[in-house]
């Protein structure tokens, strides 16, 4: 094999166009081609629509019925063991790394202990819905209906609801925020200590648990809970070992029957691997891959959490790769194939969400974030061969999972960034780029040690944390920053119901400060309700769904004798994400400019213009909202309202004529709003304003505590919820029409940034990314010509570095031409494998709903004129 080793300019800038030069040997950067096996695995995976299976739910329920009255942590462990001992297993054609949660490729199990009612209600629609459809057989429906009877009144979502304040429930009904993620599902959002399992295996962990158990004194105050937790860990780990042995047996049986000698040998080796790991430490790279996979897969059988993130795969896998390479027992090509196989497997896992959440997390995404590059705990760059091979793997499989990320700092090798940029250029939307220089101090400001902060990885979309020490609750809720402004215009009311703070009627306000203070008052109130919602859910998880298997791989659960859910982790956070920063910055700035500074528009006019959607027509949602408002008003006056009255009110609203004079004035107001400078155009005044507006969310949040003893920290990113939650938001004073998407993450509003990518990046960098320690998300879309040639890649890397020099935290890119996306909408059959960047993740374009597709097409395309 031709071996070329490269080193690049030190990456401190000032070396434009310099290419890799022969010289010092640091890492292998050359492309290793994919084998024929990989496209076959991919094809097999995508042959059919994903399917819902019932095995897990049935086995879980059987076990629960037998363990009534026992400590919950023991019940969890026994149920996990019962599932692993009995769930059907399969080895798919050509696999080198085995372990499948469902018999059907890309299928999913269900998790009734968290919630089930939505699924039962959607049995007949789930196959035909626009976002993430799943096939479900009549047999499966019947099985699930049967077990669901058991779960009535026993789920985390029901318990959480009963913990919430009535005000919170009312605010949620009014879509002020959505804690749907953990409300209906497991938490996930964790990176465990993969390296520990690779090193000592579950046998090692069992031994640790046994030692800790021996050290417990019967008289200890926490003996009851501590001892049961440790026993639950042992039960769980033993079950995992038995599960791997089931695979060993299956592989051996298949090997016996196999005619093809090459495949026979592979199956025999798979059998050996599975009988050795994850019980014991891995002794080869292949074993390490298999061991990694069981951890990754089984975490997702224990709970339905998503964003279970492999983290720094290039770091913890490297010793096994290096040892095999040095011993000469593996070639780089072999290693690449194994990594590619894992990449395919990461797309085999799936999850069915309720229809509304599916819109917010569109694209069958599990957000398994895997990051390469960056520093070690001593601050040295630790890019290695695997960092490059991971990037190649994403190019080879060309699938949305894993959510590949790359850490960038001043010492990042230019060669790694160019390699990453060449993947970006394919249009897959991977990798996402993260800035060490912002994230490390940001995490330290939240109490991480310097050493831990330097070893951060990303969870899910954009959320940084220290692996194996953190229960971060990183995706705790969607908070739509536009909604409190709507409530300001109604003095605390929404749809005729009082849900907020009684702020002054806007028509009576005499200064912008007064208006802005009213916004802050509503923000603060709804943030407190958001905290109430999250903390209620948190308590419900600790009470009903502690996860002993997950907990045994995060410090210091074992030593503290407590699950993650009960506060066993070293670092505990809750990170709900706000979005709509750009809309609120533009909206508040427009109000300040037009109503108070220039006095061109009165507050009464603006209020009316918003209510009537600037005269651009009212859709059914607006009509419905207005009708509810009027009816509630009538009821408040003691008028009995019957069905015919409702119909009358609706008819009245529908036939309401907006006068020509009004229409003209609304048009003028829209035109004036359009002329007010907007965030995203490198205007320091507006940008400073946006920074302050973002603080209305990020600052109050950090003073709240969660039940695990940690703090709240804000993120500014939307997943893909800016589209469905925008559909619940009326017109806003930035000129955004009712029910259209709001801005994603910290990006400027779509189409409002008109001075190119550098101007937009400069604006976004002026926000305080450090305080949003749960992550920020900045999307840019480039036309493919902007990245063409070596020069295109150089300039692209320079753009990222320059944004990061200015303290931006995250950047991601869509490199697909508008024409391609429009064509894919028209002819989805030709674009089955078109992957695009949605929010903090990539997804297959054709699986997204039409409105989300439109939103992606609308994002400002940065290229050359």
């Amino acid at each position: 094999m031709q071996v070329r080793r490269n080193i690049e300019c030190a990456g401190t800038g000032g070396c434009p166009g310099s290419r890799m030069e022969e010289g010092m040997e640091r890492f292998y950067t050359q492309e290793i081609p994919k084998t024929d096996r990989i496209p076959k695995l991919v094809e097999h995976l995508f042959a059919k629509m994903p399917e819902i299976e019932s095995a897990r739910a049935v086995l879980l329920t059987e076990s629960y019925q037998e363990t009534e009255g026992q400590p919950i942590v023991m019940r969890r462990a026994k149920a996990f063991a019962h599932i692993l001992d009995n769930i059907p297993i399969i080895i798919r054609d050509g696999e080198l790394v085995v372990g499948s949660t469902t018999i059907a490729p890309r299928g999913c199990q269900t998790y009734p202990e968290f919630s089930f009612e939505w699924l039962e209600a959607e049995f007949d629609t789930v196959e035909h819905r626009t976002a993430d459809p799943f096939y479900i057989s009549e047999k499966t429906k019947e099985d699930l209906r049967k077990v669901h009877k058991y779960w009535k009144g026993k789920t985390t979502s029901e318990l959480a609801t009963s913990y919430m304040a009535p005000e919170t429930l009312k605010a949620m009904e009014h879509n002020m925020f959505t804690p749907g993620n953990y409300f209906y599902n497991g938490v996930g959002h964790v990176t465990v200590k993969y390296e520990k399992v690779l090193e000592i295996g579950y046998r090692g962990i069992i031994n640790e648990a046994k030692e800790l158990l021996d050290q417990c004194n019967f008289g200890d105050g926490d003996y009851a809970t501590r001892s049961r937790f440790l026993q639950a860990v042992i039960i769980s780990c033993e079950a995992v070992i038995r599960y791997a042995n089931r695979y060993a047996l299956l592989a051996a049986q298949m090997a016996q029957k196999e005619k093809d000698p090459a495949r026979k040998a592979e199956l025999a080796q798979i059998a050996k691997n599975c009988s050795r790991v994850p019980e014991n430490g891995a002794t080869s790279f292949w074993e390490a891959c298999q061991s990694f996979w069981f951890v990754q897969q089984l975490l997702q059988i224990e709970s339905s959490g998503h964003s279970i993130s492999p983290g720094r795969f290039d770091q913890y896998m490297y010793p096994y790769y290096k040892a095999d390479l040095d011993k000469g027992v593996i070639t780089r090509s072999d290693a690449q194939e194994l990594i590619d196989c894992i990449w395919v497997k990461l797309n085999d896992l799936n999850k069915c969400r309720d229809a509304a959440s599916a819109e917010g997390f569109a694209g069958y995404s599990l957000f398994q974030n895997l990051i390469v590059g960056g520093q070690n705990k001593e601050g040295l760059d630790v890019t290695n061969d695997l960092s490059f091979m991971c990037i190649s793997a994403s190019a080879h499989v060309f699938l949305p999972q894993p959510s590949l990320s790359i850490r960038v700092w001043n010492g990042s090798p230019q060669a790694l960034l160019l390699k990453a940029a060449s993947l970006t250029r394919t249009g897959i939307g991977l990798p996402a780029y993260y800035n060490d220089e912002v994230i490390i101090p940001s995490l330290m400001s939240r109490g991480l040690t310097l050493q831990d902060a330097r070893e951060y990885n990303i969870i899910g979309c954009v959320e940084p944390q220290k692996a194996g020490k953190t229960e971060g609750w990183h995706d705790a809720a969607f908070y739509n920053m536009c909604r409190p402004l709507e409530v300001v215009f109604e003095s605390g009311y929404d749809k005729g119901e009082f849900i907020g703070v009684a702020t002054k009627p806007v028509e009576e306000m005499t200064s912008f400060e007064e208006f802005y203070d009213a916004y802050k008052a509503q923000m603060n109130y709804f943030i407190s309700l958001l905290v109430n919602a999250d903390n209620s859910i948190d308590v419900a998880h600790a009470t009903l769904c502690p996860l002993p298997f997950e907990s045994c791989m995060v410090d210091d659960c074992m030593k503290r004798g407590k699950s993650l859910q009960e506060g066993g982790a070293v670092y505990n956070f809750t990170g709900p994400q706000g979005f709509g920063v750009a809309n609120m910055a533009d909206a508040l700035y427009a109000v300040k400019t037009l109503v108070f500074d220039e006095k061109k528009v009165t507050m009464a006019e603006l209020k009316r213009a918003l209510k009537l959607n600037f005269g651009k027509g009212l859709d059914d949602v607006s009509v419905g909202d207005m009708a509810i408002g009027i009816i509630r008003g009538m009821q408040a006056q003691g008028i009995a309202v019957g069905n015919e009255d409702v119909a009358k009110v609706v008819a009245q609203i529908r036939s309401m004529d907006i006068s020509e004079a009004d229409k003209k004035r609304f048009g003028e107001i829209l035109e004036m709003i359009d002329q007010v400078p907007k965030f995203g155009n490198d205007d320091e005044v507006v940008d400073a304003f946006a920074r302050d507006v973002a603080y209305t969310y990020t600052k109050p949040l950090q003073y709240y505590k969660n039940p695990r003893g940690g703090m709240f920290q804000a993120g500014l990113y939307p997943v893909s919820a800016n589209v469905p939650l925008g559909a619940q938001t009326g017109a806003t004073p930035d000129g955004r029409l009712a029910h259209t998407p709001v801005a994603d993450g910290v990006s400027p509003s779509a189409g409002k940034d008109v001075h190119g990518p550098t101007a937009a990046a400069n604006s976004v960098a002026r926000l305080d990314h450090g305080i949003a320690s749960n992550g920020t998300l900045f999307n840019q879309k480039f036309h493919p010509t902007a990245l063409s040639g070596e020069k295109g890649l150089d300039n692209f890397v320079a753009l990222i570095r320059s944004y990061f020099d200015q303290k931006g935290s995250h950047m991601q890119f869509n490199v697909v031409s508008r024409e391609t996306l429009l064509d894919a909408q028209a002819h989805p059959e030709n674009y089955k494998h078109l992957v695009v960047r949605v929010a903090g993740y990539s997804a297959l374009f054709t699986t997204l709903s039409k409105s989300l597709q439109d939103d992606i097409i609308r994002r400002t395309e940065q290229g050359w004129k």
Partner: protein, 263 residues
Amino acid sequence: MEYLETKGRIFDIQRYSIHDGTGIRTIVFLKGCVLRCRWCCNPESQEYGIQTMMVQGKPKIIGRDVTVREVMETVEKDRPYYRRSGGGLTLSGGESLCQPLFARDLLHAAKAIGIPTALESMACAKYEVIESILPYLDQYLMDIKHMNPQKHKEFTGRSNELMLENARRVAASGQTELIIRVPVIPTFNDTPEEIREIARFADKLPGVRRIHLLPYHRLGQDKYDGLGRDYLMKDILPPTNEHMDMLKRVVQENSRLICQIGG
């Protein structure tokens, strides 16, 4: 610092330009040109006078008078990108040399604060004018459109002797990195012979190492309608990629120049 107060007339500033000079650049388009190239993709640049052009159905004023200081405020904004990419300020037009003092002072102002400079120009001016800006110029992207004086005059309105002479003198000065750019226009200069002549000429210029072949495009066509002018090249199709590759080979076979297609 008097140079900061020099006034001039521009019609656009385009940030994040990656096709005109090294790295990520900010291009300032100066208004007014001596030539009238039939294929010109910026027809609104030709007149020095301020004009109204219809853009997507709306009238747009083309041209504004600004000081060097005002322009530099925008140029300065992308300094982080210049630092990482080796980019900087590029003057384009029009023909920047039609506003010699303004062009000189813009370049001077950029160099004075450490921003690299480039100029995209036909060199259609007295050499004294060019000489006055050379001390402030890192990269000269000089158009050479044709070696035949008659044909040059027919398609651009001016003969080429002055420009070729200036090319020789700029190269001889050794004060700037000279790069030759050839807009490849079907029916005008897209034969192998014509490109070969230009390449041979460029190859003889001392210090010149690079030549760019810029394929004709029609992105400026709507602007002719917007200005109420006829577009004389309506029926001309852009050269194919294969044709451009062929011309690139012609350059490589007839010179030692590094040839790239596109800027």
